[in-house]
């Protein structure tokens, strides 16, 4: 009896996954522990290994296919064995879903993955997203074979042509009329350029020729190919959708203060000399956690009718990687000492850099910090992570001329900007929050107690 290979559930909130690559093909021998395929969720790419031994009899979900978690994607068994006509039902209720370890497949490792853009990390509630790439028009073009052949021969896109055939079908004379109206006969193109355009399925009518007398050359085709729309990764699409949703549906407002980091920077240097490698991020994370306990409304969620005050602080920390940005989450940050906070986030950062973060380590945050301090920026604003009430944007610490006791002095200044959801946070609260944060960061005696 062949064994079904099910799509694993890599994260608590993951409801569907896409197979990006099959590493085995039908007929291949499969050993326990062999990597069968690679999947992509909205957070990460990972490899899925087999728990069975035998032969990969049938692939049900091809590369690029998206299926609900637990759906059967393939069968492994002995050659010649019959495959059950109807695979076990897909899409069980998420609540009833067993843990990953309880399934016949296991998430083995994780590849580095882009998880979010500059500030808004992708996390908790899974959003619905379209599985059809935006690039492909879903409407099937009604066109006669002769008309289609002519369009192909002419290397043009027939979609904009108005059809005059039965039911608005595009017929050959429509293509001819279209070509004439567009001055196709005047189009000049070199033979190689035409060949390349046909191979790349470009529309010659949209390409500007830069050769002699406007002739389309190989260079023009190369430019057009470079400008062709490319499908975004599924992850990128999810990010786009979430950020757009957040920024267009959440009334953001921004409050900035300058924090005098001179004393803390100096204190950090003395700690470093004592082999206590606390980072500025650690201090900011601790200060934010303390402030969130003081201002629970900032650590909240809303649906526009109700507000949830979270009793715990799950702190999202955006990490910049070569491949993009990931946002690991420090759970229950309010329970941690500065030392523990440092160790936890350092471990998460390390995992993030090596692409070892598990989806659950990238979800469930209640507040997020985006630190661009190392990227030499004066100030920026971040987009609130959906499901949260605010996000803190931290900029670089630079030497500035500031007025202190009516004297102009050089101080190490850092701008922080809170993006708040005006549905639940008013200006006064945001101002109090950022000033409380500023006070904590500037109060070196506090840190001497916390270290």
């Amino acid at each position: 009896m062949p064994s079904p290979i099910a799509m694993p559930k890599p994260g608590q909130f993951t409801e569907e996954c896409t197979i990006v690559k099959w590493l085995k093909k039908e007929g291949d021998a499969v050993a326990k522990g062999d990597i069968l395929f690679e999947i992509e969720t909205d957070k990460a790419n990972m490899e899925v290994e087999s728990f069975f031994e035998g032969t990969l009899l049938k692939i049900l979900t091809p590369e690029g296919g998206t299926v609900p978690v637990q759906a059967v994607v393939a069968w492994v068994g002995q050659p010649g064995e019959a495959i059950p006509a109807t695979p076990p039902a897909a899409t069980p209720k998420p609540a009833a879903a067993p843990a990953v370890s309880g399934q016949k497949t296991e998430v083995r490792s994780q590849k580095p993955a882009v998880s979010a853009s500059q500030a808004a990390p992708v996390s908790a509630p899974v959003l619905q997203h379209s599985s059809t790439p935006a690039l492909q028009s879903s409407r099937r073009l009604r066109i006669s074979p002769r008309a289609k052949a002519l369009a192909e021969r002419s290397v043009i896109n027939p979609a904009p042509i108005r059809g005059t055939g039965p039911g608005g079908r595009i017929v050959e004379k429509d293509v001819l009329a279209y070509l004439e109206s567009k001055g196709y006969a005047q189009l000049k193109i070199t033979p190689t350029a035409k060949e390349m355009a046909a191979a790349e399925k470009l529309d010659l009518l949209t390409i500007r020729g830069t050769g002699e007398a406007g002739k389309i050359t190989v260079d023009d085709i190369k430019r057009a190919v470079a400008e062709k729309p490319k499908a975004m990764s599924k992850m990128r699409q999810v990010i786009a959708q979430r950020l757009t949703q957040s920024f267009s549906s959440t009334p953001h407002f921004f409050v900035t203060v300058s924090v005098d980091m001179t004393d803390l920077v100096a204190y950090r240097a003395t700690l470093k000399a004592k082999n206590l490698p606390y980072s500025v991020t650690d201090f900011i994370a601790m200060a934010v956690t303390l402030c969130l306990k003081e201002f629970p409304a900032v650590n909240s969620s809303t649906d526009g009718k109700s507000i949830w005050w979270h009793s715990k602080v799950n702190l999202g920390l955006a990490v910049s990687l070569e491949s993009g940005l990931v946002v690991p989450v420090v759970r229950d940050a309010d329970d941690l000492t500065l030392q523990e906070l440092h160790d936890t986030s350092a471990a998460l950062f390390e995992k993030a850099r090596n692409g070892k973060l598990l989806p659950d380590e990238m979800s469930g945050s209640t507040f997020t910090i985006s630190n661009m301090g190392m990227l030499n920026v004066e100030n920026f604003t971040a987009i609130i992570n959906p499901g949260e009430a605010a996000i803190l944007a931290v900029s670089s610490t630079t030497k500035q001329a500031v007025v202190k006791n009516d004297q102009i002095v050089v101080r190490q200044m850092m701008k922080i900007t809170l993006s708040s959801d005006h549905q639940v946070i008013d200006g006064a609260l945001a101002a109090q929050f950022v000033n409380a944060l500023k006070a904590k960061l500037e109060d070196v005696t506090l840190w001497k107690k916390l270290v």
Binding site: T190, P191, T192, E195, M196, A199, V218
Partner: protein, 471 residues
């Protein structure tokens, strides 16, 4: 002081076409030349060597004519008469250039030009090279085009002696030596080596690099070398320098890798350097680069907006036809027409025996760039016309992009190779695919058919060659 729209300095294959083109466009043009109209190319380069090579070719053909049933006895080469033929050709062409310039209303000044400012030069007139200037003329112009060319490099370690010559003096020899060492296996060295060897001179070519004619692909080089060594009987020594050179009344002696060589003459052909002496470029605000060239952009504009530099002096391809192409671009730009960029597809022709020609990408280039290509070769030995003419030596090669089938390069070695490169150049510039070249009807029986055959070969669809055995 006379004022011109455009002043061109140097009357070689860059300068005189630039002057004529500017005049055609209605500009008031002056051309300054310190030696002869036509420059190196016409007087001491391309043209005189081809005149002599034609003589050597005729001699070689006559000697080889027996296989075509033509018997000639007592044939001999009269070097003096050959030189007279050469001189006749040069004089006629030089006069022709003068007539063209006059016909287009270009005012020609004989003398050395020197900048006095970015818009002014002084021309010093001399009655001979050694004398002090006898008079001078100052002229002003809105635009200048510098086309002063290049001259042979003579390394300092070489003895200064009548037996040590560069290409220019070689073309003025009164009689051929019995033996000759050619230092430098570039195209000038190899052309003159073939010319001399065909007329009976015992020739040894010494090249420091790993091979002669390094700009060609290996298979093409091999074909030329085979003829040079086996048919013309010359020695080609590569990868080692020519050392311990001494020149005495009795002859030249030198060493290559420990081996002693001696000959009556040493021909030095190790490259050419730009000519800017006497121009006083700094007074115009111009500087040459570390190699002595005047740097220009792709429209031949120098660092001074009103001054252009074309041809060998700007450090691009040192070829007469490249200079002429740049001349058109510079002259049109100087006359206010919308400038084109310099052409980048420049064919090269080498009048060795057999002739060689090259254009565009080589296989070696493609390999360096990691570019996927397809090549198609076809031998003259399989071409009816070439066999009928008794000229079965050599082949042509096409190089096309493996993906788009775009023709990217071509090389030819064999009879008429230097003429055959023209259609290949046209096809590459027009971005033709190999398939289209293959579909183009080529008249039969002709040498030109070979490109069609090579295009078929590129796709493995040759009619006139057996399919390659599959491994």
């Amino acid at each position: 002081m006379e004022n011109f729209d455009v002043v061109v300095i140097g009357a070689g294959p860059g300068g005189y076409p630039a002057a004529i083109r500017a005049a055609q466009l209605g500009a008031k043009v002056a051309l300054v030349e310190r030696e002869n109209l036509g420059g190196t190319c016409l007087n001491v380069g391309c043209i005189p060597t081809k005149a002599l090579i034609a003589c050597a070719d005729a001699f070689a053909h006559l000697r080889d004519a027996a296989k075509l049933g033509v018997k000639a006895t007592n044939i001999s080469a009269d070097f003096g008469a050959m030189m007279a033929h050469k001189q006749g050709v040069v004089t006629q062409l030089r006069k022709g250039v003068g007539a063209l310039l006059a016909g287009n209303g270009v005012k020609v000044f004989q003398g050395q030009a020197a900048f006095e400012a970015h818009d002014q030069i002084v021309i010093e007139h001399r009655t001979s090279n050694t004398e002090q200037p006898t008079s001078n003329t100052r002229i002003k112009a809105g635009k200048f085009i510098i086309a002063t060319g290049s001259t042979s490099v003579m390394p300092g370690f070489l003895p200064k002696h009548a037996r040590v010559v560069e290409s220019r003096s070689f073309l003025d020899l009164q009689q051929l030596p019995a033996s000759m060492i050619v230092m430098g296996g570039g195209y000038i060295g190899c052309e003159l080596a073939c010319l001399a060897a065909a007329l009976g001179v015992k020739v040894t070519v010494v090249e420091l690099l790993e091979d002669v004619l390094m700009l060609l692909d290996n298979d093409v080089r091999r074909e030329v070398k085979k003829h040079m060594e086996q048919k013309l009987g010359m020695r080609i020594l590569t990868g080692k320098p020519l050392e311990n050179i001494s020149a005495e009344a009795g002859g030249i002696s030198a060493e290559v890798g420990g081996e002693k060589l001696s000959a009556e003459l040493l021909l030095v052909a190790v490259g050419r350097k730009p000519v800017t002496d006497g121009l006083e470029l700094e007074r115009a605000g111009l500087k040459t680069n570390e190699r002595g060239f005047i740097p220009v952009d792709e429209f031949n504009r120098t660092a001074v907006a009103s001054i252009y530099a074309i041809g060998d002096v700007n450090g691009g391809m040192q070829l007469a036809h490249a200079a002429t192409s740049q001349a058109m671009i510079a002259a049109e730009s100087a006359c206010g027409k919308k400038p084109h960029k310099n052409e980048t597809l420049i064919p090269g022709v080498i009048f060795t025996m057999p002739e060689v020609a090259i254009v565009g990408l080589t296989e070696a280039d493609a390999k360096k760039q990691g570019r996927a290509i397809k090549t198609g070769r076809f031998p003259f030995a399989a071409l009816g016309r070439a066999l009928a003419a008794g000229l079965p030596e050599g082949f042509v090669k096409l190089i096309a992009d493996a993906g788009s089938d775009q023709l990217l390069g071509a090389q030819a070695v064999g009879a008429h190779a230097t003429d055959l490169i023209a259609p290949a150049t046209l096809a590459i510039r027009a971005e033709l695919t190999a398939a289209e070249l293959g579909r183009t009807v080529h008249a039969h029986p002709t040498f030109g058919e070979i490109w069609m055959e090579a295009a078929h070969a590129l796709h493995g669809e040759c009619i006139h060659a057996a399919p390659r055995k599959k491994a």
